[in-house]
């Protein structure tokens, strides 16, 4: 039983980290109905730039701040060079453009910073809290707590932003019908820059936390893979959904790996979350919290 709880808690904490990555996807999807293939590259770029600067002798906090500014600049460039010319085009074309963007970002990041694997130390210890381990036998580290708090804070702020502010409403309008959004005078340019900056900043946060976990290297782009099933379960367009989906995937994936995996040969983590997500979809085709799919004639 204790072991079960331990695995469960471990899964939930992993889920928080997945949710963090998924959040970046949700932002862009919510604002433009597009699946942003470059999100993984942005996670990589963010973490790499911050550590790269740090290794040049810049203090960590300053490095992070500089990276954040750089992220906004990048968002502006993306808007100018990609999104604006591709205004109101089919989502699949935009999806493809984000792929091109992913290549550019990956190439750029590695050309500038090289392809060394680096360690990133945020100064947050990642060993289980003694007292918690002793009293309950469950290993939760300060790092986990910080990650969870950051994730919750981001989710709270972004949800509020989307549902309460004028810009949030405008974003959803753009995703629904870009041309109509233009016609009512929504400043598409600014709105898109805001979203892509936000997605970039979320990617930076995810990159820093994941980078502190596993080091800063190319494989950070792969954490995006973990976001897929999370997105399906939570719904592509729901911010709290990203969090809930993360928890569900994290917990069930770990439990399945421990309890079902050995029976059928192991390594089921590769597909289990997807199959689980698929089952969820069969019941709710728009995910748990996603926008309802409106089909009306």
């Amino acid at each position: 039983m204790a072991f079960f709880v331990e695995v469960l808690v471990g899964g939930l904490l992993a889920g928080v980290m997945y949710g963090l990555v998924a959040l970046g996807f949700v932002l862009i999807y919510k604002a433009s109905g597009v699946f942003n293939f470059a999100q993984g590259a942005m996670v990589f770029l963010g973490a790499l730039t911050a550590t790269g600067l740090e290794q040049q002798g810049v203090p960590l906090w300053l490095a992070i701040a500089m990276t954040a500014i750089f992220t906004v600049v990048l968002a502006i460039l993306i808007e100018r060079l990609i999104l604006k010319p591709l205004l109101a085009q089919p989502p699949i074309s935009l999806f493809m453009a984000t792929l091109g963007l992913a290549f550019v970002i990956e190439g750029l990041a590695q050309a500038v910073w090289g392809n060394n694997a680096r360690a990133l130390d945020l100064g947050i210890p990642d060993v289980p809290l003694e007292w918690l381990l002793d009293s309950t036998g469950v290993g939760v580290s300060t790092f986990d707590l910080v990650a969870s708090i950051i994730a919750l804070a981001l989710i709270g702020v972004l949800s509020a932003f989307f549902s309460l502010t004028k810009t949030g409403r405008a974003l959803r309008a753009v995703a629904d019908d870009t041309k109509a959004a233009l016609s009512v005078g929504i400043p598409l340019e600014r709105v898109l820059i805001i979203v892509w900056s936000a997605a970039g900043l979320v990617a930076l946060v995810a990159g820093l936390l994941w980078g502190a976990r596993n080091g800063v290297q190319y494989s950070l782009t792969l954490v995006a893979l973990k976001a897929f099933p999370v997105l399906i379960i939570g719904g592509f367009s729901s911010i709290p959904g990203a969090f809930a989906g993360g928890l569900i995937i994290g917990a069930s994936e770990k439990l399945a790996d421990v309890y079902i995996g050995p029976m059928i040969g192991g390594g089921i983590e590769s597909w289990f979350p997807y199959v689980l997500a698929l089952l969820f979809l069969l019941v709710r085709p728009e995910g748990l919290f996603g926008d309802r799919i409106i089909r009306r004639v």
Partner: protein
Amino acid sequence: MFYRLSGQFRTSYYEDNRLIGEKLERTVFIATMLVASIAIPLVASPYLLSAVLIPFLIFSLAALGLNILTGFAGQVSFGSAAFMAIGAFASFNLLLRVPAIPSLLAFLLGGMCASAIGVLFGLPSLRIRGFYLAASTLATQFFIVWCLSKVGWFTNYAASGVITVQHVAPLGFALDNHVSKYLFVLVVVTTLTVVASNLMRSNIGRSWMSIRDMDVAAEVIGINPLYAKLTAFAVSAFYCGIAGALYSYAYVSTVEPDGFSLDLSFKILFMIIIGGLGSILGSFIGAAFIVLLPIWLNVFFSAMEHFSGLKAPSGITSNVELIIFGGIIIVFLVVEPHGLARLWQRAKEKLQIWPLSH
């Protein structure tokens, strides 16, 4: 100027339904086929045949398969590599376990296996749509690759799950050199391309497209979405399966399940998006783009270094190539978001009215 359609009248619907409508295009097509089947094998270097043209044709076929599903029937899938894997491993096992099975039949049955599994994994599409469906096809991709590598039987209990395919001679035509492999691939791909064009101009093709464009209306005019979607999955998986068999038997010959990774699936998807969704020609153009462009960039940069005598710091060139590749994708999409095939079509239309501008 020379590209004129005037003076070509069609006098029957048979004629108007022809595969390639315009006379000029027909001529061009026949010429291309002649060059591809006679001139190229005679003059092309082994490098061109075995490292460029064969993979290009095979990927075109896979892209065509995915285009049937995604471009024509509107069901985005990230699982095409898995169906290629099924085609490859099914053919391998058939040839291994069924005594004296003709290899062509084994390939065909391999494609059919992919088809059957495709139908199975296509079932969720009846309820799930769009990017949700796309993301859920990842389940197919990962599950199948996992299965193939976990169940020893599929790989004939090879220690590490790697299989080396048999030497085959379909219809007595031994696939033991570049030319024979190329010709075989060319014949298969051409045949299947013709079949795909036939499907597209028939009722089933229209059913697929109507499901893609407006599924409610399609149902209202009597199209069975179940049938339309599942046939699309079946045909698409069949094409991918055959492509997978060709990939292993006419191209790399030693394969492992992990070789048919998500990356490959994505690559095929990119081919059809950049080439043009819902365009047969687009599948080929897209495959050419994704397969050939990185090679050209690589060759170009090597030549640049060679001639200029400058040596860029190692690793930089590779990254620059990647950046340029991504940049070109974006530029082409900005010029024509519907893909290269549409760009080509527009160029053609411009030629038709040339020198007038409108």
